[in-house]
Symmetry: C2
Subunit: 353 residues, 2 copies
């Protein structure tokens, strides 16, 4: 596809959330789709040691596939790697479980390349609450305050995708640096999605996010779009446009939640891990997480279909912001340790185009 597009000004494509197994076939999909950068999840419920081991494994696999991928820990890395025709990989966690309420582990994981962390996955933890708790008690704990300050300090971008409403609003307010929602759609636009409206974000939350210069990554995933599996590219663009109308062209990006390579039983792990003996519902266990996407986006190899659909409604500059420029701006600021960061209140870097 890159040959076909040669001569056109192609936007940098950043997908702000995938959970691929460490296998070359997914890196080849990125290549086919011209994807310049993917933020991948390395831990959800795993503890420090398990996570450290998996990071070691993933780093090795990236090195073994250096013709396609390279670990990135800065916006400069991302630009350089994407310019080489390969995909920059950003490491992240969807939970702070690997930190085990140890303040030093934020910096230690950052040193291993982890640049993004979700405060909590679906449940209450030492920091706040996930969307799946009946009551979201917000970020009121001592460790919650400490953790946010530490992530700000070491240059770990905070992610609030699975957090509950109160925890999301509290964290946006408490963080000294802009925060992210890497993969969630707007609740008001989507209505009642497959796996519970609480997983999606209120208009109040995304407005607060954007007011603090954050970005939300939208997904065409059948489980959180209006119309489910029947969604068409123009329907996805409608959702993008609705969100842009609410919070502006600088606050919206892509975050597919594409999770290839896992057996269906991974759903039980993601949902119940070791904290319960329940299993994911039988109807969810019939289908692997990366199956059942729409024909026009059955994998990231089809990212150009989103570019094309957006290009019918937006200028090239705006498409570039939506496809990756906004994330690149956030990553440029968010991945820098505080000691090296520009003074608070300094002007954001210009969005990449």
């Amino acid at each position: 596809m890159s040959d076909v597009r040669r001569g056109f000004q192609r936007p940098l494509i950043i997908d702000a959330l995938q959970i691929p197994t460490p296998e070359r076939r997914w890196f080849e999909e990125w290549k086919a789709g011209g994807v310049g950068c993917v933020h991948i999840t390395l831990a959800i419920w795993e503890n420090a040691t398990e996570t450290q081991s998996y990071i070691g494994k993933y780093r090795r696999v990236l090195l073994e596939n250096a013709d396609l991928v390279e670990l990135a820990t800065s916006a400069a890395d991302i630009e350089r790697i994407a310019a080489s025709g390969r995909t920059a990989v950003v490491f992240g966690f969807q939970n702070t479980a690997p930190v085990e309420h140890d303040i030093e582990l934020f910096g230690a994981f950052r040193d291993l390349g982890v640049c993004i962390m979700q405060l909590t996955y679906n449940l209450q933890n030492y920091i706040g609450c996930g969307y799946w708790e009946a009551k979201d008690t917000g970020v009121s704990s001592r460790f919650g305050k400490t953790a946010i300050e530490e992530m700000n300090r070491v240059g770990i971008l905070i992610d609030l995708s699975h957090c509950g409403e109160r925890t999301t609003l509290d964290a946006i307010e408490m963080s000294a640096r802009p925060v992210s929602i890497t993969h969630a759609n707007p609740r008001e636009f989507v209505g009642s999605p497959t796996f519970g409206a609480n997983r999606l974000k209120t208009t109040e939350a995304i407005k607060a996010l954007a007011a603090r210069k954050g970005v939300i990554g939208l997904s065409p995933n059948r489980n959180m779009v209006r119309g489910g599996a029947a969604i068409k590219p123009e329907d996805f663009v409608d959702m993008v446009a609705w969100t842009v109308d609410q919070i502006g062209i600088d606050a919206v990006g892509m975050g597919t939640d594409y999770c290839p390579g896992h057996p269906p039983s991974i759903r039980t792990w993601w949902r119940y891990a070791r904290w319960s003996r329940e299993k994911a519902p039988a109807e969810q266990m019939k289908i692997a997480p990366h199956e059942g996407w729409q024909s026009w986006f059955s994998s990231p190899a089809h990212f150009q279909n989103i570019v094309d659909a957006l290009s019918k409604r937006y200028s090239a500059d705006d498409v570039a912001k939506l496809m990756g420029g906004n994330w690149l701006r956030m990553f440029r600021e968010g991945f820098v340790p505080a000691a090296a960061a520009k003074p608070a209140g300094s002007k954001p870097a210009a969005a990449a185009s």
Copy 2:
């Protein structure tokens, strides 16, 4: 001292909370005080592996001092060991951190002899909130409900000593089996103690505890008594009597919070562990945790002074309940796995005398 008392009906003495280092000298104090059983803390902030290692160490040290001590995992063990003139040791945690939100680890630790667990130490965790959080959000999480059910099932007695007020009340209500407060004094009686009134228990909480057949362990520790270090035996008895007047003679026991053998710096670990880089206040760091007790209770070797003081106000049967009988009743029920337990609503075993 046991020789001096020979011929008298001596009450079984159970101290429901100490944190001794694994050293023979503390077991000798128990012997000198005629202490039949001590519940000791093996973990506060440690993770599963660290805790497993420390359990291994403590079990070895108990075996090496089998002339003085033996691990107990049932009321029958306690009675047998105490009758032999030695001290029964009950293992417990002051936090669920070692469980690492892994439901199977409750049973695994129970199999290693851990019969008592505090839901949370001073902070918010996956289950509830400690007294030191500005906001106690109670037990509203999915794991909180699951954890309480699992502790009930495997025969781990729930301890609420350091929990916040809302978490204490919620857990009393949610647990199918009676719960405990192993070491805390009544807030209304003590007034404003050294380290914050929230550490002590409201009258509402202890009444709810007693209504569900729970027991609270009281302490003469200078940090949580009226009068501080100047407290006399009769002052301690006043507090016992006030509590008995509120919740009855069957709901009160001893829980000294005696913590010998640790350097002063342990206070920083207990308070801040790894979740913060702060240190305990300098004035607390001047004195080791087991120093500074009153002359009449400078160690558990002086437990007979409490027996003598209580005997001036209470009958021998009531003294026996207060000194250990109530705890023995709780342990008899609480340490039994649910499969082996009597049907819910069965009559409690008679208090030992």
